[in-house]
């Protein structure tokens, strides 16, 4: 039987460990994952580009809901573990106790907040998680907002550069004499300071913070020397402390971090610790590469295999676009050390290599870092460099007379040269995977090798390897294709379907030069949707290109049975309906009946063969399919509004039912959930839906682009309309615009983010003619879509779906 594994902390170290574990032994453990943050694992180190606006949160998510569910992880996000009871082998959260056989502590670090007055004021933030980033983004949106960043290390400078890109006035306060003193020598620190000042960031070194000033909110920072810097936002980035509180309370051996042995086991043999919260051989780590190694070792330990953690030095790179900086190893001066220095003031280049006994022990590169990987390789292998000493500093391209072509430098790297420092991936592994598995895109390479999947600074190197291995067929600038069957992206395909009048899947594949004969499970459902949406009257829906749920109009469950959810318009039901459901449950011995989050009833555990008979009985009571399985309109939740509620301002129930009756049956790029609340108290939770309505005295406030799944996002306000008719027209137009433009599987909030909420507002609210056109097109397509799929199947459609083709009986087989 699977053992119970509890993991505390859904961060980068535990995320990697779970990946390894599910790859090597998917069924060895039943995993429960606790995370204090209300979300799953994301690539924390990419928060800097998110803060800079160069990436979105969605792009840095490493594990999404599908991944967790595919691996059967019980996700307990937003639940902080407050206690470990080692006697009883349980962990405690506000929701209660969970027992474990093995426990992994991966709580990371807590940002260190310097103990000065005012550090608790609103507007003072650390830089550690997505909430910090979101708060900073909001602060930066204020016109002429000012930020003070305390700490001129890696984190502080990435924050400063990002906030500057967002238009803030930024001051960096740094205690030491030069920036990033732990990774850079004074010269490189100076060059970095000049570069950042050139971007309009003020740098104040040797700055001792005395107090943070403000009443309700932060207003300024005061230094010991009396300087005052006004501030709307203060970012504290002075360092991190291993997060060890629960481990200490549980009586584990903790020094600076949780003490572990080489196999990552703590002082309790059933408790493993990994990540930044750990101390191994007197060292705590703060970069991902060693944490990933810990994750590997921990996986082996969990599976009862031998493994030992061997610390390796990790290079530091600053992730500020346009600043090239690389630092590795030891660069202090010393008696027994020699150095080689190259400066090019015009070009802003500084390179320094520190040697001991003719071997590289450290390097600092600024302005040109392409040779970092090569120097690192020489250092790791302790290569004697006396032969090439004179030209060493010019880099690899200079050695052995090879040309200065950047590709040639990559080509010349040895197969075991490390390309991706974060994940410890060497050149041979990448080129090997490209050829052996026929990889053609950067994403493929990331999926198979993990190279450049973490901090991303080695992406150019990986791309060069792809060019070297694949030749001209690799074009890094190309848009992400739908799947490996085509080179075209979703938008391009949608455009060409319309432009060329393509009306069948084979026509699309022929005209757009699909590379496979009949597509795959990624592109076929997408194409089928696009054709349904674009040619509602002419296209014959291809059920073989739909996922099983949409093909049989029920939801497949993990054991291969199905669940059935009939529509309950606006969440309103009656004695007659409930009685009919009760009868069906009894008759078919349905094991579970459950009220869903969308205000209706789910019957789970129905055998596929029984589906048509179940539907027939439900149909007699007037039920139709609830499309709980569809990329289409799911539910319209409502509150009781003016019918019953003393606060109600409009007939929210009536409007919800009207919307649902108008829109059911339509296919959409991804599922659509709606809600209508009768007043701003919002009992129907309309402000986290794809589309929501908040009724007010003066009319109907229409909301859209909310999310309440793995991502949580409040809605945007589309606008206020006066009448119910108008509300319906705007909502329908909005959904039709989404149906026509979004990419398959893209929820409204993601689509809105890409298109821009203002553009949507303009097209479906302000431009009345356009709105009407969208509305009319939706109404037209509903003529073909509003057919109850259940009653069709009760009358015999797609019979083959529900019966086995044949049964080979025991006797016959035994003959």
């Amino acid at each position: 039987m699977a053992q119970k594994l509890v993991v505390i902390g859904a961060g980068m170290a535990s995320g990697r460990m779970l990946e390894n574990l599910f790859e090597q032994a998917p069924d060895a453990f039943e995993v429960t994952l606790f995370g204090a943050e209300p979300r799953g694992n994301y690539n924390r180190i990419m928060l800097s580009p998110v803060l800079a606006g160069e990436k979105t949160y969605e792009q840095i998510v490493t594990h999404d809901a599908d991944w967790y569910s595919a691996n059967g992880v019980d996700c307990r996000f937003g639940e902080t573990v407050t206690k470990i009871d080692r006697e009883k082998k349980v962990v405690t959260t506000v929701k209660g106790e969970t027992s474990y056989d093995k426990l992994v502590v991966a709580t990371g670090s807590a940002p260190f907040m310097i103990p000065v007055a005012g550090r608790d004021l609103p507007g003072v933030r650390a830089f550690r998680d997505l909430d910090d980033v979101e708060a900073m983004v909001i602060a930066a949106a204020k016109p002429e907002a000012k930020a003070v960043v305390i700490g001129g290390g890696l984190l502080g400078l990435e924050a400063a550069a990002a906030l500057r890109l967002r238009g803030m006035e930024v001051v960096v306060l740094h205690l030491m004499g030069h920036l990033m003193e732990r990774q850079l020598d004074p010269t490189a620190g100076y060059l970095l300071q000049k570069e950042l000042e050139g971007r309009g960031i003020k740098i104040h070194c040797k700055a001792q913070t005395k107090a943070i000033l403000g009443n309700e909110h932060v207003e300024a920072v005061l230094l010991e020397d009396g300087t005052v810097y006004p501030a709307d936002l203060v970012v504290m980035a002075v360092g991190i402390r291993p997060e060890t509180r629960i481990a200490t309370d549980a009586g584990l051996h903790v020094e600076r971090g949780i003490i572990v042995d080489d196999s990552m086991i703590s002082s309790d043999p059933d408790i493993i610790a990994i990540g930044e919260c750990v101390e191994h051989a007197n060292v705590c780590y703060g970069l991902v590469a060693p944490l990933y190694d810990m994750a590997k070792v921990a996986t082996k330990t969990l599976l009862g295999e031998q493994a030992a953690f061997l610390p390796e030095e990790t290079p530091t790179k600053l992730k500020v676009t346009g600043v090239d900086l690389y630092s590795l190893g030891d660069f202090a001066e010393g008696e027994d050390r020699e150095e080689i220095v190259l400066r090019d003031a015009m070009a802003g280049i500084y390179k320094r290599i520190i040697l001991k006994d003719n071997r590289i022990i450290g390097t600092v590169l600024f302005g040109e870092t392409a040779d970092g990987a090569w120097f690192n390789d020489l250092k790791k292998k302790a290569t004697d460099i006396s032969e090439m000493r004179d030209t060493l500093i010019f880099g690899q391209a200079f050695q052995g007379g090879t040309s200065a072509d950047p590709l040639a430098a990559v080509a010349a790297l040895a197969d075991d040269a490390e390309i991706c420092g974060c994940n410890g991936v060497c050149k041979g592994k990448i080129t090997g995977a490209i050829t052996a598995k026929g990889l053609t895109s950067l994403d493929d390479v990331r999926a198979h090798t993990k190279a450049s999947a973490s901090c991303g600074t080695c992406t150019p190197l990986v791309e060069k390897l792809m060019v070297l291995t694949l030749g001209d067929s690799y074009n890094p600038a190309a848009t992400q294709p739908i799947c490996s069957c085509t080179t075209l992206g979703h938008d391009e395909v949608r455009r060409l379907i319309k432009a060329k009048g393509l009306k069948t899947i084979p026509a699309v594949m022929q005209e757009l030069e699909w590379k496979t004969s009949c597509g795959c499970a990624k592109c076929r459902p997408a194409l089928n949707y696009y054709l349904v949406a674009d040619w509602p009257d002419e296209y014959a829906d291809d059920y073989q290109s739909r996922f099983i749920n949409e093909r049989v109009h029920a939801n497949i469950q993990k054991d291969g049975t199905y669940s059935v959810v009939p529509r309950m318009w606006g969440g309103v039901t009656s004695a007659k309906e409930l009685r009919a459901i009760a009868d069906v449950v009894d008759k078919f011995e349905i094991p579970t009946v459950k009220v869903t989050g969308g205000q209706r009833i789910d019957m789970l555990g129905i055998r596929k063969e029984d589906l048509p008979a179940v539907w027939a009985d439900l149909g007699k009571a007037g039920f139709v399919s609830g499309h709980a399985y569809a990329k289409g309109l799911r539910t319209v939740k409502t509150c009781v509004g003016t019918d019953w509620c003393r606060f109600g301002t409009q007939d929210s129930t009536g409007l919800g039912i009207r919307i649902e009756k108008f829109m059911w049956g339509s296919w959409t790029p991804a599922k659509v959930k709606m809600a209508v609340s009768g007043c701003p108290r919002n009992c129907a939770e309309a402000t986290c839906k794809d589309v929501g309505v908040i009724c007010v005295d003066s009319g109907y406030e229409i909301h859209f682009a909310g999310a309440a799944g793995l991502d949580i996002k409040g809605t945007e306000v589309l606008g206020l309309v006066k009448t119910e008719d108008e509300a319906l027209e705007v909502i329908v137009a909005l959904v039709q615009m989404y149906r026509e433009q979004a990419r398959y599987l893209e929820r409204i909030y993601k689509w809105a983010k890409r298109i821009g909420p203002d553009e949507i507002k303009r097209q479906v609210l302000e431009d009345v003619v356009r709105r009407r056109e969208y509305f009319d097109r939706f109404v037209f397509s509903q003529k073909f879509a509003q057919v109850d799929p259940w009653s069709e199947r009760v009358s015999g459609k797609d019979k083959h779906e529900f019966q086995p083709m044949a049964t080979v009986p025991f006797q016959q087989a035994a003959e």
Partner: protein, 109 residues
């Protein structure tokens, strides 16, 4: 091994599958776009998903539960995933499909 006739090729939708119940478990029988017929065990090695319910493309099927892709010819998982399902011999004669089932194995059950 003995052959058991299970029906006609037209019982299976093009680019589709049906399942057959046998004493040794369910078997998925697949018909590709070019009318090739394959049979594999209807049980995904990952978490037991019913492969006959997946989307059929080329000579492959994608599992409906978590999207692993299997070759219908070899039963091997494709792409980054590793695993395999058992393939069952199929005979197609004048539009009639037969499966080759191991008699000894079946009789023993």
């Amino acid at each position: 091994m003995a052959w058991f006739e299970i029906g006609s090729i037209d019982d299976i939708p093009l680019r589709g599958a049906r399942c057959v119940a046998t004493p040794q478990g369910r078997i998925g029988v697949f018909r590709t776009a070019d009318d090739q017929v394959y049979a594999i065990e209807d049980h995904c090695p990952h978490k037991g998903g019913p492969l006959s319910q997946g989307i059929v493309h080329g000579a492959s099927v994608t599992c409906p539960l978590h999207n692993w892709v299997f070759s219908l010819e070899t039963g091997q998982a494709q792409g980054a995933d590793e695993g395999a399902v058992r393939t069952i011999p199929v005979r197609l004669m004048e539009g009639r499909i037969s499966l080759g089932l191991g008699v000894a194995q079946i009789a023993a059950e």
